[in-house]
Amino acid sequence: MRSLITGDIPAPERAEILLSGTSSDAHTWNLVFLQLLLEEAGHRVANLGPCVPAPLLVEEALELAPRLIVLGSVNGHGHQDGLQAVRALRARPELALVPVVIGGKLGVNGPLTADRVRELTDAGFDEVFGDADIGAFVSYLSRFELRVAS
């Protein structure tokens, strides 16, 4: 997985953040944007790209053991696809504690209602970000201590 900023390929085990699209979402540019945003905040990123089925997400998460998993979705099915993804992740004991967040345009009718956000957090998401919450996402990221260059 190549860095969009430096062009370097970090060894997979050094990726700190696993970034992924959702199973039915073919959009790429939102994920390119998020990767840049995360790299600008100093994180190493493994970006799985669009249309990632839940079993593949679980497999990659087990292999990379990231410090954070970020799902991005803009096709309106993010609520449904996100539920499936996070349930599959939380079903694995090794992934019970890793922080998992989702953001983007998650519903077909604008921002999600409080009830639907609660469904997502009940299923295992630590945070749910709406389309306009980039600022909140960036400040959430600041909780994750940056890798110190050796």
Partner: protein, 416 residues
């Protein structure tokens, strides 16, 4: 029985009449609505061909979910489920519509379209689109090698339906590749290589595509480059060029959207493309209605009628770069599919910002001061290195969004 209606012959007759063919991207789950959409397309004041766009369950091969949605009336689908739907229903939908003056093309988006191709042949259709690279790399993680194998089989299935009055037609989607920020020479090269792949597997009538980008001048050059290369590399094959109205972030204002559409139609006529696939004024907001589609078709046809073809010219820098790319790929193997696979592995073909594991990801692009898309970093492409390698570090999350909305801002601000 559905009438025979060769797609390539319809394009040729429009070309002879000096008309640009215009086509919507339209698909509905409800057969009644789908038929009304095709009827309205046919009745539009323009030279049209029809489109049957499939739903996303069918695209990913989940026909069980498509069948469940049909049982609930079909209205919840975002396109027509040609595989799950009874063949007789689809024949009835097309009856009296699909004809020599109005062939219908199936549009789908699948990296494994074997079932789709079999179904469309069974209902009497023979025109469709896609490609082993263009329906794989931008849309997920299906390995390129598997997509090439799927597309070899699918192309041969389609080719095998040829018979008296039946000439299967296949369009490459290679001129789109992520919709924006891919320099035109790469779009031209990928479309041409997919066309060669189709021809190698038995297709005798095909179309090559190019999606409108950020500079009208560069777009005209790209269409000319595609025509020159097709003339050189596809002898004995019936081919034409299709231009897609802009596939990136679209203007939000109705005036901005229709100005961008009109520009694509004028580019097509000026540079010699035979067909345009339109976008509507609703593009930035929602799925367009039948009426919005018809309006877009008629607006594009009107802009086309006001435009004269330009002298062919030499295709400029886009032609020269695309030719180097295509030749470098074809040297890798006598089999086009194998050559494509090796080219992506070595980074001789490389799509900027494409996240697929089989894309090298070493190239970058930008929009220059004149609005042309250019390489910032040519990675391992067989093209000269670009000066000022520090440009790469200038890609930021903030200016990426600005770059992606370049066309939207230009067209919306011109009308405010």
């Amino acid at each position: 029985m559905t009438a025979s209606a060769p797609f390539g012959a319809r394009i040729a007759s429009a070309r002879a009449a000096g008309e640009l063919v215009v086509q919507p991207r339209m698909g509905f789950g409800d057969p009644g609505l789908m038929r009304r959409g095709l009827e309205a397309t046919r009745a539009a004041r323009a030279a049209t061909v029809g489109t049957l766009t499939l739903d996303s369950y069918t695209r990913v091969g989940d026909h069980a979910s498509a069948r469940r949605a049909i049982a609930e009336g079909g209205g919840g689908l975002n396109g027509y489920p040609i595989v799950a739907r009874d063949r007789d229903d689809t024949r009835a939908l097309l009856g009296g519509l699909h004809a020599p003056d109005f062939p219908v093309q199936v549009r789908h988006g699948s990296a494994a379209p074997q079932d789709i191709f079999r179904a469309l042949i069974e209902v009497g259709l023979d025109a469709t689109e896609g490609g082993p690279v263009s329906y794989c790399l931008p849309y997920g993680r299906v390995p390129l090698e598997r997509s090439l194998e799927n597309w070899r089989e699918s192309t041969e299935i389609l080719a095998s339906c040829a018979g008296p009055g039946r000439v299967p037609h296949l369009e490459s989607f290679g001129g789109c590749m992520l919709g924006q920020l891919c320099p035109p020479s790469m779009l031209v090269a990928v479309s041409l290589l997919e066309g060669l792949f189709f021809a190698a597997h038995g297709i005798t009538s095909l179309s090559l595509s190019y999606a409108q980008q950020t500079s009208a001048e560069q777009d005209r050059e790209a269409v000319r480059a595609l025509r020159l290369l097709a003339g050189e590399l596809l002898p004995g094959v019936d081919w034409h060029v299709v231009l897609y109205t802009y596939m990136g972030v679209f203007p939000r204002t109705a005036a901005g959207a229709s100005a961008l559409l009109a520009r694509s139609a004028r580019t097509a006529v000026a540079a010699g493309a035979e067909r345009v696939i339109v976008k509507t004024e609703a593009e930035a907001h929602r799925i367009p209605t039948i009426e919005e589609n018809v309006r877009a078709l008629e607006n594009a046809a009107r802009a086309a009628r006001d435009t004269r073809p330009e002298p062919p010219g030499d295709g400029g820098e886009t032609y020269r770069e695309a030719r180097v790319l295509v030749e470098a790929v074809l040297e890798l193997s006598d089999d086009v599919g194998t050559a494509l696979l090796r080219a992506f592995r070595r980074g001789l073909l490389d799509i900027p910002y494409c996240l697929h594991p089989d894309n090298a990801g070493r190239v970058r692009s930008h929009i220059d001061d004149t609005g042309r898309l250019r390489w910032s970093d040519t990675g391992s492409l067989p093209l000269p290195a670009v000066g000022a390698p520090s440009r790469r570090s200038s890609v930021t999350s903030a200016n990426l969004l600005e770059t992606l909305s370049y066309v939207e801002r230009r067209y919306d601000s011109a009308v405010r």
